[in-house]
Amino acid sequence: MSKLFRAEVVSNLTLNDKNNLLTLKPLEKVLKPEPGQFYMIEVSHTYDPLLKRPFSYLRRRVAELQFLYAVRGRGTSLMKKFKEGMVINMIGPLGRGYPRPRKDCMPLLVAGGTGIAPIFSLAEELPRKAYILHGAKCRDELILMDELMGLGMESFLCTDDGSFGVKGTVADALYDFLMHKASPSNHYVIFACGPRQMLEAVARVASEKGIRGYASLEENMACGFGACLGCAVKTIHGYKRVCKEGPVFPIEDIVW
């Protein structure tokens, strides 16, 4: 069972202006991923683009892996062209995902935009109720709401343009939640993923409220499995590899 395997494109759907859903069927026996772990996905069989691209998995089914991706540049533009039946190389599961929430704590899932991907994979594995705060640019980009409800999550939604839920950032929503809706009896722990500045704001709120948490970070990656030292992020313990010691780090360890 190798982390390097071939997978067949089952489907590649456009969800909205930003998000796409890629479903892959591994053609070999693969390892079971943990929520927050990621895969390096080959976007071209030629040398341009040269490197694989890192993506957290959204869902895993018996024989399938699902990814939620946004088109950012050349690689993701090519992914958008993936056709059913196409076979690509990939590597994973990679990195360290989110730790399992301890029994005595109440998970606060915080997602910004496409950052919902690893958060959703975590939500699917949670044995019990949790809160999820999800922010996006507009209503259209707030996805998987029904699925999350189905998982027994209590959602607090917000959009930058106010087209749905509260108007404002998810960090504001988090602050608001902790100020007015949080019950003192609960021991909250944050599990976050999203753009760096959002995570930084979340970290600020967390430290202000004295709450611990975990965030999934992004960095440019050449290898994805710890060999190139290219994906370093500064932590209070020095530089760490996002692909190996991360992508999930204790939110209070990150040096913003």
């Binding site: 390097l4 341009d48 683009p49 040269l50 960095e219 440019n220 710890g226 060999a227 030292l229 370093a232």
Partner: protein
């Protein structure tokens, strides 16, 4: 039965395929993808006397058929390497080559002699890293300093093979190859990355905090093959070819140009099994061409 063994100085490799320094960590990361025993040699990430924390991110950027890196020689330092990493590497039936980097002659000498005493199979002098302001790079582009460095390091080595890794940023690779040879280097390896940069036109900021990084990957292969050939025409010591080797065809191209062995760098990132597939590919090629000894194709290209 095809003979894939090659000799680099007094170092006998089971096959000509090595890993390029800085792209293979200390071997551990690849153990889950390949059988490390099948490698000709493992060249580890550049080691300095004291640990180095490296450059701030972003450290890598993709370019057309290549990539820029400015890792900044992050490494755990000599002491921890000997204690934590070398024992792991010793467990495998492959040669261990340690790439070293110093800021002064003394540092290079100290590194070389302690590693030699620890019995590493070979030492690769990195005199060509483009990512540190002082140190490395100057040795690689100044003939007198290079001569002094190689001779000095050679003196304090008892058993290890000495490999000098040349900088492609020097105008005439031949001259530096000759200097390395005449100063006592047992072999030369080339090329290291070529200095390059890229700018994000939206933010106007460099893609690497370090601004300039080292270019590697298929993009530089034609330049590397040319330099290997020029070096081959200039010296008699073995040459280790490096630069954009992804498949066995690429490795064979370098060997035809004069390389006795090759190192795979960026190729490991695209495919962590690349090295092994290249070993198999070279063997298949020799079979197909009914060549019984890999040494026969070294420098065997028909120039004009």
């Amino acid at each position: 039965m095809i003979n894939l063994t090659v000799n680099i100085g007094n170092l006998k490799l089971k096959n000509p395929v090595m890993t390029a320094s800085g792209t293979f960590g200390y071997g551990e990361e690849y153990a889950e993808f390949i059988d490390l025993n099948r490698l000709g040699a493992i060249v580890v990430k550049g080691i300095s006397i004291e640990p180095m924390e490296g450059n701030p991110p972003p450290r890598t950027w993709e370019t057309p058929c290549g990539m820029l890196n400015a890792i900044g020689l992050q490494n755990i330092g000599l002491k921890r390497f000997l204690k934590e990493k070398l024992p792991f590497l010793r467990k495998f039936d492959t040669k261990v080559i340690v790439n070293i980097l110093g800021n002064t002659f003394e540092e290079y000498a100290k590194l070389a002699c302690s590693l030699d005493e620890e019995g590493v199979d070979a030492i690769e002098l990195n005199v060509s890293c483009p990512n540190v302001k002082r140190g490395g790079i100057i040795f690689g582009t100044d003939k007198k300093m290079l001569a002094k460095l190689v001779a000095g390091v050679k003196k304090c080595i008892k058993s290890a093979t000495l490999i000098t890794k040349l900088s492609p940023n020097a105008s005439d690779i031949k001259e530096f190859a000759i200097v390395a040879e005449s100063s006592g280097s047992d072999a030369i390896s080339l090329i290291n990355t070529i200095r390059g940069m890229s700018i994000d036109i939206e933010t106007r900021k460099p893609r690497l905090v370090n601004v300039i990084g080292g270019l590697s990957g298929p993009a530089i292969r034609p330049i590397a093959v040319r330099m290997v050939w020029e070096a081959y025409e200039a010296v008699n010591i073995p040459i280790i070819g490096i630069g954009g080797i992804i498949k066995s065809e690429d490795a064979i191209e370098f060997m035809l140009a004069g390389a006795s062995a090759v190192q795979v760098g960026t190729g490991n990132f695209l495919n962590p099994r690349a090295t092994i597939e290249i070993v198999d590919g070279i063997e298949a090629y020799l079979k197909r061409k009914s060549v019984s000894n890999v040494g026969e194709i070294v420098g065997a290209f028909i120039g004009s």
